[in-house]
């Protein structure tokens, strides 16, 4: 079976491709370039196309699937109504899939399931990374705010932290937000 993975994120395409490589009857083609996409798909002549849901080239590709007489085998969206749940899961994960007409559902399902799992894993990874980056930045801001309070008001470190914490509780905000405000105010007042 020939599977084309179309994704402008080369990293995500690689993560999915790696998973699908476990199927031994599958030949994988990864396309990350927007330019010449339709010609490339025609060349690959895939049985299944997996594409990230938000890919800006989807309308163009769907039109090609719908009208191209060059395709020997018509491609449809994977929308056999009996598989509605599977499609809903893939849409939730952010995968859109197109399948050659007549390809049996039992051959499609494992591939789609795996793509969904890989897509979800990739999203979690991204979210974790963003959270970790956010936390690191927060900690730096809080440290800087503490330093400002210690220098300007002669507080010890635990007191400075307690002041930030109290302000956050009083105003129903996160400590990092209060710290950010302190740092900004300090900069505006001519501090560095």
């Amino acid at each position: 079976m020939r599977i084309a993975i179309v994704d402008e994120s080369a990293t995500r395409a690689a993560v999915i491709g790696e998973g699908l490589a476990a199927f031994d009857d599958c030949e994988l083609f990864v396309v990350t370039e927007r330019r010449g996409l339709v010609a490339r798909i025609a060349e690959i002549d895939p049985d299944i196309v997996l594409m990230d849901l938000g890919n800006p080239s989807r309308d163009m590709l769907e039109e090609y699937f719908a009208v191209s007489r060059a395709l020997a085998r018509p491609i449809a969206m994977f929308v056999d109504e009996s598989d509605d749940e599977a499609i809903a899961a893939s849409i939730d994960a952010g995968v859109s899939s197109y399948v050659v007409d007549g390809l049996a559902a039992h051959r499609i399902r494992p591939i789609l399931d795996l793509a969904v799992r890989r897509f979800n894993a990739f999203s979690r990874l991204q979210a974790d990374l963003a959270e970790a980056k956010g936390k690191l930045a927060d900690r730096e801001t809080v440290d800087r705010a503490k330093r400002i309070l210690m220098d300007s008001r002669g507080l010890a470190e635990p007191q400075a932290y307690a002041e930030l914490r109290k302000a956050a509780m009083d105003q129903g905000k996160r400590i990092a937000e209060i710290a950010e405000a302190v740092v900004t105010a300090h900069r505006l007042m001519g501090g560095t």
Partner: protein, 402 residues
């Protein structure tokens, strides 16, 4: 009662009404909290709507009908209780081509530009390099308006030229790279092409059909029934946004809101041109005022006339070269829901027409029409070729078209 609604949209100026309903508190005043979800292709907007990521969507009108009729995927009934606007699209040609078919500094005359283009189309076809046009979706008013115009000027859209899909954000690229000779797209994407020197605007879609239906608010039929109260509140909020949008005093502020990264992520200056009906046709030129380039509010522009749905269905049949089916026509007609629009606005100061269907393109000047409430005057709403669309005889209308 408070309701949350999620609305999908593409970064186009005519996504303005739901965005402004949210930003100016018109939604809040109706007890609605709106969340806007931006995507980059209609396929994604539609998937999110069908699989419940969104409750409603900014959608190209023909796609709502195609989805209901099951074109390209299993049928999923959609409902359109509100039209987000009329027209607002333009045709932009590569500079060298524009120079051959349209005088400089003005929007062309559709008949004259079309006939000049027909000559070029024949030359190019004979040379084995047919003219190529990009439209934003095969089920778009852009596709139908472009084809309507070409066919009326003696160009056979499927035989003499090539028409393919190019997503709005890539239209300027495609022109610049020579992948297409012309595009039919909404704003700000014509103006983006102009700013980059990739092309010249030669026609506005309003010159082809003075009051052509464009984007609609679409919901799944089942969702509209379940959330009927919220849907009606949304209609009232969108009407308030429409009134605000067309007031020149608000153009500057609204352009700035629409330009924000979470909405169109573009230039407020270019967006303002469309909002104010003042387009720069070529780079470095003077702005040209073309009244009603976009038409978002007056004359009950947002009323979902059943005849508009039926006109779209005739064009779908026409360009699919399919047989007219009375049953399909009836299903297409039911997509537009004037009953919901009326229920939402009954007892407000908004005019409601007496009829729900009209002969499209039959008025040459100001005409007072009967109403259910308020007073209403319609203006010129003609097609450039003068052929009117009578919804009582769809098959006969199709026979009259080239």
């Amino acid at each position: 009662m408070a309701h949350d609604l999620t609305i999908g949209f593409l970064p186009l100026v005519d996504a303005c009404l739901p965005i402004l309903a949210r930003e100016h508190g018109f939604a809040e005043a109706e007890g609605l909290t709106l969340t806007m979800v931006r995507d980059m292709s209609w396929a994604t907007v539609l998937d999110r709507l069908l699989y419940g990521h969104s409750d409603a969507a900014h959608l190209v009108a023909p796609l709502a009908i195609a989805t209901t009729l099951g074109r390209g995927r299993p049928a999923a009934p959609l409902s359109v209780p509100f039209v987000l606007g009329l027209n607002g699209n333009a045709i932009t040609l590569r500079g060298d081509l524009a120079d051959r078919v349209c005088p400089p500094g003005v929007l062309g005359d559709p008949r004259a530009v079309g006939e000049a283009l027909a000559v070029v189309a024949r030359e190019r076809k004979a040379a084995g390099r047919p003219l190529r046009f990009g439209v934003v979706h095969r089920y778009s008013s852009h596709n139908y308006m472009l084809r309507y115009w070409l066919a009326a000027c003696g160009v056979r859209p499927d035989a003499d030229v090539e028409i393919s899909t190019v997503a709005p954000p890539f239209c300027a690229d495609a022109l610049e790279a020579g992948e297409v000779d012309g595009i039919c797209v909404g704003e700000p994407w014509n103006s983006v092409a102009v700013e980059r020197g990739a092309g010249r605007i030669v026609l506005a879609s309003a010159q082809i059909w003075r009051r052509g239906v464009e984007k609609v608010l679409a919901l799944r039929e089942s969702v509209m029934e379940e959330k009927r109260e919220a849907a009606e509140a949304l209609i009232r909020a969108l009407i308030a946004a429409g009134r605000h949008f067309v007031d020149p005093a608000n153009w500057e502020a609204n352009a700035a809101i629409l330009a924000r990264p979470e909405y169109l992520d573009g230039s407020a200056e270019l967006i303002r041109r469309a909002i104010s009906d003042r387009l720069l046709l070529a780079r470095g030129g003077e702005a040209v005022h073309y009244p009603d380039f976009m038409f978002q509010y007056r004359e009950a522009a947002n009323f979902p006339w059943v005849s508009q749905a039926e006109w779209l269905y005739t064009q779908m049949i026409r360009w699919e070269h399919a047989d007219f089916s009375p049953d399909e026509a009836a299903r297409a007609a039911r997509v537009f829901r004037p009953d919901v629009y009326r229920a939402a606005l009954l007892g407000t100061s908004e005019p409601l027409p007496g009829a729900s269907s009209k002969v499209e393109g039959s008025l040459a000047g100001l005409t007072a029409v009967g109403t259910q409430q308020g007073t209403m005057t319609l203006e010129n709403n003609r097609f450039f070729d003068g052929i009117a669309f009578d919804p009582h005889d769809l098959a006969g209308y199709l026979k009259r078209l080239p």
